[in-house]
Symmetry: C2
């Protein structure tokens, strides 16, 4: 266990009807005129946007709408929103949606108060020193962005998908989570969200730091909860309790608590970001392909933590670490495939002929010569992992 600072001051309002508190919570964060960021038609069609606006108006808060944010959100929408936010003099952000919407709102929150190009924060040229307060009404769980200080934006021109990580300045002041709002998510969206949640937990779990028993047990507990609840939500999309447990696990999986006291990994995310930036696949589906490949590589090169996952989460009984790790990979693949109906290789992901040269090149250009917290990977090794994602050849 290493030294750490943990500070997670987001207020979570969780449960049926929680969205009715949007006005009050926005008021409490001291905002007079808020920009509402959302995605496609959905929040308009189902009346949610109108209900939120009523809740804001009732307490005297003005608002400006900014819709049309798409999955894998891009810098052009951020520039557009920053210009509008400045023009309208908004002093706070309210994201209604999932990770793409929240991440856009965060980038705008930082960009509005910055004289230079907001992309400086993502390229590492500058640090976020001030930002408008951000509130979230979550409708698509998975990204964990409602509980993190992070934002992931893709630069359209170069297809760089970059994750900006801040300690707390971009952490939402509040996050409203009503599991009922997730009833209408498709099985595909639900499953992609669950993979993303599990990945946030596992990226922290796969750590070179020893003796992190508390953080390990929390990670394993959240994974067990997700594995237990996922089939229930998929077989009955209106199972409130399954939806509630999944949503809350996703939030806790990314608020930092699972990472306390240890170095984290994040290679699976880096590798997937290259895939989704180039091929536009859904992040969660991409992760379902990447994670088992990364784990299979580790089963042969550094099996210990993969074996622990297998034993404590999947009930693997093998005594030998390598065998236990291989069985863990098989268990996870079976869960992704049979329960979540996720793709497990490039082809099933819709990428028939992946340009692995390009993916490896971009990956190491963006992230450095070697990458990874759990195990340091060279470009030769990341190539091997990408190759493990190719469909099995006919026998």
């Amino acid at each position: 266990m290493e030294n750490f600072t943990f500070y997670s001051p987001t207020l979570y309002e969780f449960g049926r009807g929680a969205e009715e508190k949007t006005g009050m919570l926005t008021f409490l964060m001291g905002v007079k005129k808020v920009m509402i960021v959302f995605g496609k038609k959905y929040v308009k069609a189902n009346g949610l946007l109108e209900r939120v606006e009523t809740s804001l108006s009732a307490i005297g808060i003005e608002y400006v709408e900014f819709g049309g944010v798409a999955p894998n959100p891009t810098d052009d929408k951020v520039y557009e929103a920053i210009a509008l936010a400045r023009d309208k003099h908004v002093d706070g952000m309210l994201a209604i949606g999932g990770g793409s919407v929240i991440d856009t709102a965060k980038a705008v929150a930082a960009g509005v108060l910055y004289d230079g190009d907001f992309w400086d924060f993502f390229s590492g040229r500058s640090d976020v020193k001030k930002a408008l307060p951000v509130g979230v009404l979550l409708t698509i769980p998975g990204s964990g962005s409602e509980s993190s200080g992070n934002s992931v934006i893709t630069k359209r021109e170069t297809l760089q998908k970059i994750s900006l990580r801040t300690d707390s300045i971009l952490r939402p002041r509040f996050a409203i989570l009503n599991p009922e709002l997730t009833f209408t998510l498709s099985a595909w969206q639900t499953a992609c969200g669950i993979v993303d949640m599990m990945s946030h937990i596992m990226e922290r779990y796969f750590s070179p730091t020893s003796r992190v028993e508390v953080s390990d047990r929390l990670a394993e507990g959240l994974l067990l909860a997700l594995i237990n609840e996922a089939p229930k939500a998929l077989s009955d999309p209106t199972d409130y309790q399954a939806r509630a447990n999944i949503e809350w696990a996703g939030t806790l999986g990314h608020n930092g608590i699972v990472g306390c006291g240890r170095r984290e990994d994040w290679v699976s995310h880096f590798m997937e970001h290259e895939i989704s930036a180039v091929y536009g696949v859904t992040h969660g589906a991409g992760l379902a392909v990447v994670i088992p490949a990364w784990m299979a590589f580790m089963a042969h090169h550094k099996p210990s933590k993969v074996a622990q996952l297998g034993r404590r989460v999947f009930g693997v009984e093998a005594v030998d670490d390598r065998t236990a790790a291989i069985e863990a990979v098989a268990s996870l693949r079976a869960f992704f495939s049979a329960v979540l109906r996720m793709p497990l290789d490039f082809k099933a992901l819709g990428v028939a002929e992946p340009d692995i040269d390009l993916l490896v090149k971009k990956l190491h250009e963006d992230k450095g010569e070697t990458i990874g917290g759990y195990y340091r990977l060279t470009s030769k090794e990341t190539r091997q992992i990408y190759e493990l994602m190719l469909p099995a050849t006919a026998e």
Copy 2:
């Protein structure tokens, strides 16, 4: 899972040398003159107080010392500290110690800004509406007070030991945790702290609310971590990693995260508070006597959650809930006794002839005719539980 609000804005600074940040963190909470609350000689003798004062002075913060707080802290020290704090015009509190010191600092923080008698907050006559900011440097883990908005104070005159619970106004702004500061705790202090931590987790775990899979898994994970690390810290008091995991588990066990979305129980605490108020026993040791008795009663009256604890934490395999619950009680008693060397009955606790009439009477006077979240207990039933704490009669 029920609706809930979760807000835990305490900043945790964890690790070796963390206490060096006391001055900076006190400064960041906007305090100019702080009252340092501590217990007996210890913090003076080992130089910790001096190091903290140096850290405060270095950043220009004045301080007033208030020492001598004893275990099971009483109202008279709170009155004394409030008078001193007003006289010296302090604008913040810094607690250096364990639960007794932190709870005293919190009571003072609320009392200083209140025109009436601070006991009004504990008697339920008034709510805390404002309070000085409180920071904590933890030296005795167990109470979880560093992460909660609660304070437990005993009224000397009537021996009422009352817990005041606030949402966030009395939550410490920061908590500094350096596991090295716990190396000198005796095996007894260490074990009492671990029982207290486990009790905070179990009081929330024993809930009538169904489908709280995430909160259950987190609770079980923290218990597993404590059970795994406890023998290591007891056999080697300077095992930093064991001390670190125990301290962090204790903090997370009481910051509210384990209770999200469910009704909690707290009867074991209520029953123990009567024992320690009347007989002055150490809270953790008292809990080691109370909890297994409460669980044994439940094994016969409502075994389901006790059985789940047995299966998921102690590896009990019995299919029948009642049998599994009975085995869970036996496992917990064995852990308390063989590993933690805790007393398991009144006599071993040092209370040779407990006045059960008095305990039952005070309990229901303080807490109402029936008590408990998991199972509603009448005075006849709480008497039965107290009687289960009597030593087994000779065969």
